[in-house]
Amino acid sequence: MRLIVRSLLIAGLLLGGYSLLLHQLPAALVIPQGINQDNQIKMQQYVYGRPEAYSAVIVGSSLAAKLRSYALPAHTYNLAFRGQSVFEGFEILRRTGQVPKLILVEVDVLDRASDASTAATLFHPIMHPLRQALPALREQNQPLNQLFGLGFRVLERLKPAAAGRIREKVGGAALPSATAAAAEAPEAPTTAQDAALALKMEQGMRQNFAQLPDTAMFRQNVQALRTYIDYFSQRGSRVAFFEMPISAVACQSNKLNYMRQQLLTMFPRQRFTYLPQPDCQAYTTTDGMHLSDASALRYSHELNRQLTLLHSLSYAQ
């Protein structure tokens, strides 16, 4: 029994000491260790931060997850997650009781089913209240992330250019000059392996988009979407649909046309807002689906322009 008591005591002391240390450490760039952690960090930053501060929220998949937050209008939060659908973002909004003024819904992969485990993990009956009370238990504060943050600060001093590239890669705020340069820069050349992989992925994606979605699943998804949209509309949110640019072929594919048509039937233009379709040919993707870093930044600026316009129009009305 002595071993158990001593071990628990040590664990408690470490947790207390680490919590105090976190207070002292300056905020560092969060470099996620992987896709799931990236998603979790974004969710937790929203839920345990000040969600009421965001008047516009984006829900979507990995396509919209590539949008650069610093290039979007202020008070916009991106609840689009890699490997997930629009439903996870909606569910987080619902469970946190937030009713943003504007909810932007990405439509490109509306045929993807929701993943109930995402919200279950985030709102875990034990870990959620603990994370709320103890920031040390949040994903971004993992000891290893703090270690990487410290390493990044050293790198920023020694090799600012390399640190800037990493910052841009993980979607952190870039310096104003770098932002402008990146937006205008041509797409980065890829290696032979990158090019071969991109081609293979794009072929697979084209095949996928040439077919209609599984109609039963899609109908189920649209019903679920209707439920969420009704829920938030009744509470005063405005819902706007938007598309992320994908490869030009997929942009005009059977699947996307079918989904657009079904969406318009269910959510008519008279009652819902649709942002203009992007010119897919003007953007570059890495695999037919996901925008390259430079294109993601460019489209973020474009979306910013659209939202500002929407905002001024709503004031005009």
Binding site: S7, I10, P125, P143
Partner: protein, 472 residues
Amino acid sequence: MLFNSFEFLVLVLVTLALYYLPLLRRWQVPILIGSSLFFYAWTNPWLLLLFLLSAFVNVATSYQVVHAAPERRFFYAALGVVSNLGILAFFKYSPLIGHSLFPDTSEAGRFLSQIPLPIGISFYTFEGISLLVDAYRERDRHAAQELVPKSIGQHVRNTTLFVAFFPHLIAGPILKAHQFIPQIKPKYLTDIDWEAFFRAVVVGYFLKIVVADNLKEQTFWIAYPYFERQSSLMLITMLFGYSMQIFADFAGYSLIAIGVAHLFGYSLPDNFNFPYISQSITEFWRRWHISLSSFLREYLYIPLGGNRKGETRTYLNLMVVMFLGGLWHGAAWSYAVWGSFHGIALAVERLSGQANRVPRTVLGRVAATLFTFGLVSLAWLLFRLPNFEQALSYLYHMGSNRSFAISGLEYLTIACILIYSLPVVLYHVWYLAQESAVGFGLQRLSYAWYGLMLFLTLTNAGPAGSFIYFQF
């Protein structure tokens, strides 16, 4: 229901509270059975029907093996074993048979491909076979009465608990009837070995949540076709990481199972004994998934003749056992290739006399350990990429993508893999050093290590995921 889920915690606490209530002491076995069936039915209640059918077959045939007329006993034992193998073959291997023997467009092919794989089937059917074989071997002795009592009610309770006991139900350790059934008796709260429970559970959760779940994030990129763009260095590091991940995942699961079983007064056998310090494949199989390797040795290799029927037969037996052991893991030919690869390595070691030879120098022992680890890791690729062509393509790219120029974020992946693999490496080094003065000093501070592991389990958990061996 995952061991790392909230539902599991609630189930254990509720079961524990009822189990040790003095008023309910005589109902301890039914309480455990009830909880175990609830645990199994959690994700798909329909699978419970198959599980109960399998349990019924084992109850009925094992009872007849011990209590029927002597001339009928072999028939019942054979009937039970064939039924277990039939259930396993139908539910686990139908898709493989469908793909291999029928065109994809045929009705039969489609039907066989759609048969679902019931979780834990490989484990509970093997345990059923163990009961039947043990009962048949001991049929004329007193031990048989202990395994299969005359009272049918008691036999139903014992057998159902043996196959259903929830800590080991889904992914082992595979129990043998003669190890478990004699332990079934009234249990008291004062008998719980709290320290054994604590040690097993803390290390188990640490290995699963901190090591395996975090490594899973990094080894994700082994997936086809993503690996094609990675450099050789990345591909080698990811394979190393997967080797560490699969150990941490499965050893973690086994330790949690052993720890939770302690809470209910049961002792499950060790499943791992620091396998990555092995200096030969022969030694590896004495240290890795011990409950499976000992099952295969006891119930397959020895009945086939083992090494008692000449050299040629010994090699054949080795190959057959490892081929079937590979197929036990999954319904894909790549698992059979994985098993055969190990079978060939065992045969080569036996032929060259290396099987039980320990190198004399430290350098020789280190080289043998690294060589064995390299072979084992290479073979794990077939677990991560069960498509044989993709596994070969991975090996090809490992040799051909010789660029060592990696970007900032790839450094991050490599750093993560090395950092999260470190506890597994230290775990094995600690085992090697425990006889030395340093090891003794580290052991005296064991509470500090357990405290640190608890702290990291709370603060540095990876994204929760199911256990790799659940798919088998």
